[in-house]
């Protein structure tokens, strides 16, 4: 990896840590208001769902009683909730290329200060019995809006819980949901394997943590012990306007089975797989990329196992992943930025890959542990690792791009009524990216945050 590329990576990492927006998780006091239940009924600790909450979601935000349809609600009821997090944080990166009188050298840069997250406007509920919706306009800290989710779901078609259809932009059916993660710090906000892209790789389409645009079939048993889903999406990584290839699709399938673990509670094991194709060739006009004109589709896939294990107050979430990208993506083809029109490499007719090029392959896993002291206090730990097993380009160091990520924190929720949620959130996270420092060594950074997370 060239020094300049490393400098850019390092600088971008720092910028991302300092100003990066936290993923806005979903916890809707609107539901609690509608049904008169506390946050803790549906959330192990909000916003993370427990089994009851997962069942509620799988039923289309319905308790499956006579009060599901909005027509039975008080006319003043409005299914909307707002969430934002003011906080203090400190971000530190150990090797940033800094100019000085003696030239450019690596330095640790640490910054701290008060800040606030983006704003989530969470609206979801039912339009009628067995027709549910979700609309989440989301604002960055700067005030720029985007549509995080927008979908309608036809629930229990033909009176069967096995037939639910959703259309729009939605979160993939990850049983361990990143949208409901309990970790908020800059280095701990994401599940790395949900967004992992190898160094030099240009495939942005395989990120299972990003909301996608498509249609989803989902089915579950009445008690939600067994659940299965399949989604077909445009390969746009959730972006609108078919900005990439107009004939490229991806699919995501997931299934899980819960079982009674006696005094420990109800455990669950499952699997997921995402596979699809996306363009690497963009047609141009006057040298400028024609949006949506992508062809030359190449393939990719990710798959893994999921487990939720409860041991009384202690629980573990385990997610694994094996990932594979076409060698074309692995060498940088397909990377087109529709907002700027930038295209680094175009797979035009006659293009051939460098000798020795292979498909990048990797394995990853994380274990997130929660200790629920009581429904108002939860201790959190996550350890995550991603390891490249095959680099695309010959001569690339085998460990380049490997990730180690560790997060610890606690979340105290003195208020968790059916009207609002308030949490004092504290967290430390540490991230190591192998070989990505400007000098080719490992780049590490850490985050500390303490803030008030609230929704109402």
């Amino acid at each position: 990896m060239t020094s300049s590329r490393r400098n850019v990576s390092c600088g971008l990492l720092l910028v991302w840590l300092v100003i990066g927006s936290f993923p806005r998780a979903q916890a809707l006091p609107a539901f609690a208001r509608k049904y008169g239940l506390r946050c803790s009924a549906c959330h192990e600790a909000w916003p993370m769902l427990n089994y009851f909450g997962q069942k509620f979601k799988d039923n289309g935000y319905q308790l499956m009683n006579d009060r599901d349809a909005p027509i039975w609600q008080n006319p003043s009821y409005w299914p909307i909730a707002l969430r934002i997090t003011p906080f203090w944080h400190r971000e530190s990166t150990d090797k940033v290329a800094v100019d000085s009188a003696s030239g450019t050298g690596n330095q640790r840069i640490s910054v701290s200060g008060f800040d606030y997250s983006g704003l989530d406007i969470l609206t979801a509920g039912t339009l009628a019995k067995n027709i549910s919706f979700q609309l989440v306009p989301s604002a960055e800290e700067t005030g720029d809006f985007h549509i995080e989710s927008a979908n309608v779901r036809l629930d229990n078609l033909f009176h069967s819980p096995w037939l639910n259809l959703k259309l729009g932009k939605f979160e993939l059916d990850n049983i361990v949901s990143e949208k409901r993660t309990l970790t908020l710090s800059a280095n701990g906000e994401e599940y790395q394997i949900y967004h992992f892209i190898p160094v030099y790789d240009a495939n942005i389409f395989g990120q299972i943590g990003d909301n996608q645009v498509g249609v989803e079939w989902m089915g579950h048993s009445l008690n939600d012990r067994t659940r299965i889903s399949a989604a077909l999406m445009s390969s746009t990584d959730g972006n609108p306007d078919l900005s990439y290839g107009s004939n490229s699709y991806s699919a995501f399938v997931a299934g899980s089975r819960a079982f009674d673990a006696g005094k420990f509670g109800v455990d669950r094991v499952g699997f997921y797989a995402m596979f699809g194709e996306a363009p690497t060739t963009y047609r141009t006009s006057g040298g400028v990329v024609i949006p949506g004109s992508g062809i030359g589709n190449k393939t990719f896939h990710r798959e893994g196992f999921v487990g939720l294990f409860y041991f009384g107050k202690l629980d573990l979430q385990v997610v694994t992943q094996h990932g594979w990208d076409s060698a074309w993506f692995g060498t940088g083809y397909g990377g087109f930025d529709p907002s700027s029109g930038d295209l680094v490499l175009n797979n035009t007719p006659g293009t051939i890959l460098p000798p020795g090029t292979r498909s990048p392959t990797w394995n990853g896993a994380f274990v997130e542990t929660h200790y629920v002291v009581n429904p108002q206090l939860i201790l959190i730990q996550r350890s995550e690792w991603v390891r490249m097993s095959q680099q695309a380009l010959a001569g690339t160091p085998g460990e380049l791009g490997n990730i180690d990520n560790y997060v610890v924190g606690f979340r105290w929720m003195p208020i968790m009524s059916s009207r609002a949620g308030f949490a004092w959130h504290n967290e430390f996270s540490w991230l190591r990216l192998a070989g990505l420092a400007p000098d080719g060594t490992d780049l590490s950074s850490n985050s500390v945050m303490s803030g008030f997370d609230f929704d109402f």
Partner: protein
């Protein structure tokens, strides 16, 4: 205008109230803590033994918002709910397999939690496992002094369900008239009888009769045996009495079959609906006095 001082008794009364109410609450809390360690604070569901102490966290997580810390039905949401959450301290429960006025069995409470109560805010808690539910049953029992002094009633016998015949459906209609069910439930089961608007529960709160025609689930189960049980045990705390002393088991089954004809088609009433269509039974005449 001169200010008149309040009479001395007023201050004494205020002091008694001011000190007494928190003390009463404290005493209740202490008493309940004691009951938590009593033999009554366990449940037996088949081969499973539920223990109240293990349910503290689940009760706090799932139940306390409505039923309150003391189990008195005064949780933070109670003011907004209709019907009101159950007051466990009274030890009075609608859904029982036991005679009216007696305590329910552990299985009755278990079934109620697992099944939920339609037309109320009580959800289906089937996501809790058997042991969690059994523990919660034990926890509920620690709230009321009744469990310290009384044992659960013996479940009423339910004879085997006879075959549905046109005669039985017709007979059921007679029973419906004889018991004057239409006073509350209406002549066609639509909950619009002349007394429907005046119904109140034991706490004098308005309560509605069950509408058989709207497709909602009966509160205490939707099977034939559940319905049989409901009018033979009554729903304690509500105006729905037990008719165990008024009708014979055969008549009770006839009534079950007739009530099924009111309901929209479901998995239980295909035969009854067919018979009702063939017979074209007129609604009961509310003006005919029972024999």
């Amino acid at each position: 205008m001169g200010r008149e001082s309040l009479p001395r008794w007023w201050y004494v009364g205020a002091a008694v109230l001011g000190l007494g109410l928190p003390t009463w609450s404290q005493l209740t809390s202490m008493q309940q803590h004691e009951w938590l360690n009593s033999p009554a604070a366990v449940s037996h569901i088949g081969d499973l033994t539920g223990k109240a102490k293990r349910a503290a966290m689940d009760y706090r997580r799932f139940c306390v918002g409505c039923h309150g810390e003391l189990g008195d039905g005064n949780g933070e949401n109670a003011a907004w709910l209709d019907p009101k959450p159950r007051d466990f301290t009274l030890g009075v429960f609608k859904c029982r397999s036991t005679p009216s006025g007696t305590l329910p069995t552990d299985e009755d409470l278990y079934d109620t939690i697992a099944r939920g109560l339609d037309r109320s805010n009580m959800p289906v808690w089937s996501t809790l496992n058997r042991r969690q539910l059994a523990d919660l049953v034990a926890w509920i029992k620690h709230f009321s002094p009744r469990w310290q002094k009384e044992k659960a009633g013996a479940p009423i016998p339910i004879p085997a369900e006879p075959e549905v015949t046109p005669e039985r459906v017709k007979q059921g209609r007679e029973v419906y008239g004889k018991l004057q069910c239409s006073k509350c439930h209406g002549v066609q089961g639509t909950a619009n009888g002349p007394s429907a608007s005046t119904l109140t529960d034991d706490a004098n709160r308005p309560i509605v009769a069950y509408n058989f025609t709207d497709g909602s689930r009966p509160k205490c189960g939707e099977g034939d045996r559940d319905i049989y049980r409901m009018f033979m045990t009554g729903l304690d705390g509500t105006p729905m009495p037990s008719y165990a002393d008024n009708i014979q088991p055969e008549e009770a089954w006839d009534l079950v079959f007739y009530l099924r004809t009111f309901q929209p088609p479901n998995q239980y009433n295909r035969r009854e609906k067919e018979i009702a269509r063939q017979l074209a039974l007129p609604p009961v005449d509310p003006n005919v006095l029972p024999q």
